[in-house]
């Protein structure tokens, strides 16, 4: 009896303190993304290897599962090296910022709700949900869009020619693909009548998934997301056969580990946003906990990204920009204009609540 009273006390305390709630969200998101990016890395290596008819890691741990840990340890014990031409302060800060910013975009994604819903309702789980605030989608994208800027800084500060070109390519990519990305998710915002990711997912509980209702936006969003995540066929910033490793050529050891990790965190965040916007987030037909649903969908989306990487070569910079400006932006803009009518028709037929 005593413990229960104490627990309630703690819950009430946390509920009333907005900072503590966000700290809780951060811890939850951190745990989830840590597991998530490990699984992603494993899929990247194993699934891709099987497509290439290789085995991927096999030696360390069962089925090579501990290979990632071994790699991380290898990076951590390497010499902390920085090139002579580098602007040391920015050069050293960029990996840290890169991870932080990538991670921050996860805070607005309602992972905490899925975790809270695992507990019995007597604990009033929903009151913990800090990610249920109004412009959460904008916050997620705000952090998400910061990364290419950091890449530009990183490329510039490293003082190499390859890194410089990689950084500038990244800037071009940012400008041309942020717009279709935002235009695409705006049509979802119109359908759900909310900028709150929590609300957007809840709306899909009573309607068709937005991947169906806003199919063109789903496609443009996916393509633009591929470019934002700098993955093949849009991995021009790190084009390994031209720019060696692009903007992060001069980053080694722990710094490279952070850069590498931030890529996968971003990929996880991007996939999670895609799932929340278009594929119904934690909603699913089978009686599986919401946490597992959201996690599973995110990983499946990421696996598709790996599949795309295995199937397609890299495009050229002008082709990529042409795709962004001439196809994705017009298509997503036109679709945004059409969305109110679609929403109206869908409501009449009960496809949208």
């Amino acid at each position: 009896m005593n413990t229960q009273i104490t627990l309630t006390g703690i819950i009430v305390f946390i509920e009333r303190n907005v900072y503590l709630r966000f700290l809780l969200v951060a811890i939850v998101a951190f745990i989830i993304v840590s597991i998530g990016s490990l699984i992603e890395l494993y899929i990247e290596r194993k699934f891709w290897a099987r497509i290439m008819s290789r085995y991927g890691p096999t030696e360390v741990g069962k089925f090579g599962t501990l290979q990632l840990i071994a790699d991380a340890v290898k990076f951590l014990v390497k010499e902390d090296f920085s090139p002579a031409a580098a602007d040391k302060t920015i050069y050293n800060l960029v990996p840290v910022f890169s991870v932080t910013v990538s991670f921050a975009s996860l805070l607005a994604i309602p992972f905490d709700y899925t975790v809270a819903s695992l507990f019995p309702s007597s604990l009033h789980p929903l009151t913990f949900v800090a990610s249920n605030f109004d412009p959460s989608l904008l916050v997620a994208f705000g952090f998400f869009a910061l990364e290419p800027l950091i890449v530009l800084f990183g490329g510039w500060a490293a003082g190499g020619k390859y890194t410089l070109i990689g950084g500038f390519r990244s800037a071009a990519q940012l400008i041309s693909y942020e717009i279709p990305l935002v235009l695409s998710f705006l049509s979802v915002v119109v359908l759900a009548q909310s900028l709150n990711l929590f609300q957007i997912i809840q709306t899909q509980a009573h309607s068709w998934p937005f991947a169906v209702l806003a199919f063109p936006a789903f496609i443009t969003f996916t393509v633009a997301l591929l470019a934002e995540l700098e993955r093949t066929p849009f991995d021009l910033t790190e084009a390994d056969t031209e720019l060696v490793s692009g903007w992060n050529t001069e980053y080694g050891g722990t710094k490279f580990l952070l850069v590498y990790l931030s890529e996968y965190i971003r990929a996880f965040a991007g996939s999670a946003i895609l799932v929340s916007l278009f594929l119904g987030g934690w909603l699913g037909p089978a009686p599986i906990p919401p946490l597992i649903w959201l996690f599973l969908k995110t990983i499946i989306v990421f696996t598709v990204l790996v599949w795309i990487r295995a199937a397609y070569p890299r495009v050229r910079i002008d082709q990529m920009l042409a795709l962004g400006w001439r196809i994705l932006i017009p298509v997503s803009a036109v679709w945004l204009i059409l969305t109110p009518f679609v929403a109206h028709v869908a409501m009449m037929h009960g496809a949208l609540a």
Partner: protein
């Protein structure tokens, strides 16, 4: 090809040497005093000797009047007091090879000798003349860019002269210089458009020059591409080679003929068998060795398998150049199958050392035919799989189709050979045009491209794999019994000179060997196909986008062992 076989083909036709004789007589008529001798060596091959002053005129006449439009190579032979300067020309229309020889006298010491450049006649002479300058010290006056190419810039000697030993030290220290102890690369000057320099004299410092290599994923080995960039567009480019230079040609002069047998493997480690054949064929022609029929068939089978694995390696690197790593691994996976066959036949996978003068090292092992049929079936089936990630893949087409177009005129003028030349619409294949061994008995096509773009150069390889598979199947079906090794000399090779021509996977490769009857060659020149193809790639890169330039370089399939020798 042995001398007997060419003689037998000569008997069958009415006047087989009519064309060669007309060319010889017209050269004689045009230059009555300048051309000293004009010989027909054999069918499709002739040799003329002319005085140095008239060499350029003879070349001009050969190109413009007689149609010798393709420069194979330029090289020299040091005879102690004078050089033989050799120009090897080929007429794509008439399918005749013309060797123009001239004497250039030189002093006792290692001093430069001047000779007029032929870059005005053949643009392909650019790099060949630089090579001769580098290794022999013949300075070509009027050459636009006369600097070293295989050796470093700070090298002072010319190691292929006879006064140097095999390590590059002068035998008599008074006559030459030892190799330098410093290390500087061959940095050429990269140009800028004149208009830019007029507008802003300080622009030279503000334009980015990017060095690709010598260690870079896209250069396929230690090679450096220096590119001057305007944004993503290459204004001027230079290719620095020589990082893998071992001077095989000097090694050739310091080993006996038979000791040299393993060296061609190292010349091109991606297609070793074809290069072994080039060397063996040259020596066989020189010594008049007859090769048994079974050995010829075994050679054809092994050479075509070699072509298959080399082209599979190309399919792999083509994917790598555009970030398609799946294709990279698939290509290597299938190449392994063919390398396993190599291992089955000669015990080694990469450097087989299989050919001998007058035959091959050992007979085909038991079960080879079945295993080979299985392998080529698998490769054929996998080509279909490749098509989904390559030529049927829209993103791949975006990068390859219509990019890096090389016109047929430029291809011939710049000296391109092999699949790259055929992609531009010139059906030049030594196996068809100047058939050696038993290639005239097989039914196969020479694939020819229409546009000369990256995609065509890529597709040439795919089509050639299919043709090679067909040749392998035919050869396995007709494989005769009999000895696999004929009678051949081991040490003494008769005096004279000979050159072979083999269609290696990268184009026509040839060995030019000169003997004075001693156990060691006087000269062993290796004509590398990849060497001149990289020159073509360098010319093509200018004006292209950064990303395309490296793909274009890749479509010429450079192998640095062959380029640097």
């Amino acid at each position: 090809m042995s001398a007997q076989q060419s003689a037998s083909t000569a008997v069958q036709q009415t006047d087989p040497l009519a064309l060669e004789k007309t060319i010889a007589s017209s050269l004689k008529a045009a230059f009555p005093t300048a051309v000293k001798t004009a010989n027909v060596v054999r069918r499709r091959r002739m040799r003329i000797e002319c005085i140095p002053e008239a060499t350029l005129d003879v070349l001009k006449y050969s190109k413009n009047q007689l149609g010798f439009d393709h420069l194979n190579y330029i090289t020299a032979v040091d005879w102690g007091k004078a050089f033989d300067l050799v120009y090897n020309l080929w007429s794509i229309q008439k399918m005749v090879e013309l060797e123009v020889k001239t004497k250039v006298a030189h002093g006792e010491k290692d001093e430069l000798v001047d000779f007029p450049t032929s870059t005005g006649v053949y643009q392909a002479a650019d790099w060949f003349e630089r090579e001769v300058y580098d290794l022999f010290g013949i300075r070509f006056v009027g050459h636009p860019d006369m600097r070293r190419i295989l050796l470093r810039e700070d090298w002072t000697s010319h190691p292929l002269r006879k006064l140097y030993d095999r390590r590059g030290y002068p035998i008599d220290p008074k006559l030459g210089q030892p190799p330098p102890q410093t290390w500087r690369i061959n940095e050429g000057k990269l140009s800028l458009p004149k208009k830019w320099l007029e507008e802003d004299p300080e622009i030279e410092e503000n334009i980015l020059t990017l060095n690709f290599g010598p260690h870079h994923p896209s250069t396929h080995g230690p090679m450096m591409v220096r590119a001057r960039l305007d944004g993503e567009i290459i204004i001027d480019a230079d290719v620095v080679i020589g990082y893998l230079h071992r001077n095989h040609e000097k090694l050739g002069e310091n080993n006996t003929w038979i000791q040299l047998l393993p060296y061609p493997d190292r010349t091109n480690y991606v297609s070793p068998i074809n290069w072994e054949w080039a060397y063996v064929m040259a020596v066989e022609e020189l010594a008049g060795v007859e090769v048994p029929e079974r050995a010829e068939y075994i050679r054809v089978i092994m050479a075509e398998l070699d072509r298959i694995q080399s082209h599979l390696m190309y399919l792999a690197t083509a994917g790598d150049a555009v970030g398609q790593l799946t294709g990279f691994v698939w290509g290597l996976r299938d190449r392994e199958l063919v390398l396993d066959l190599n291992e089955m036949v000669c015990g080694a996978r990469m450097l087989p050392n299989y050919f001998r003068f007058g035959g091959v090292n050992r007979d085909l092992p038991k079960g080879f035919a079945e295993r080979t049929r299985q392998v080529v079936d698998t490769v054929e089936k996998h080509l279909e799989e490749f098509s989904y990630i390559y030529e049927k893949n829209p993103v791949f087409l975006k990068r390859f189709e219509g990019v890096g177009v090389l016109s047929p005129q430029d291809a011939v003028e710049w000296g391109a050979v092999g699949p790259g030349l055929r992609a531009s619409g010139i059906p030049f294949d030594v196996r068809k045009d100047d058939p050696y061994s038993v290639y005239d008995r097989f039914d196969f096509d020479v694939p020819v491209g229409k546009h000369g773009d990256n995609l065509d150069r890529f597709m040439m390889r795919v089509e050639e794999i299919k043709q090679s598979i067909s040749i392998v199947r035919q050869a396995l079906k007709d494989l005769p019994s009999g000895p696999y090794q004929g009678k051949a000399p081991t040490l003494s090779i008769p005096e004279g000179e000979a050159s072979s021509r083999v269609e290696t996977p990268r184009g026509e490769g040839s060995y030019y060997v000169v003997s004075n009857g001693s156990p060691r060659p006087v000269r062993m020149k290796i004509k590398s196909a990849a060497f001149i193809n990289v020159y073509v790639a360098k010319r093509m890169m200018i004006g292209q986008k950064l990303q395309d330039a490296l793909v274009i370089l890749g479509t010429w399939d450079p192998v640095l062992g062959e380029i640097d020798r």
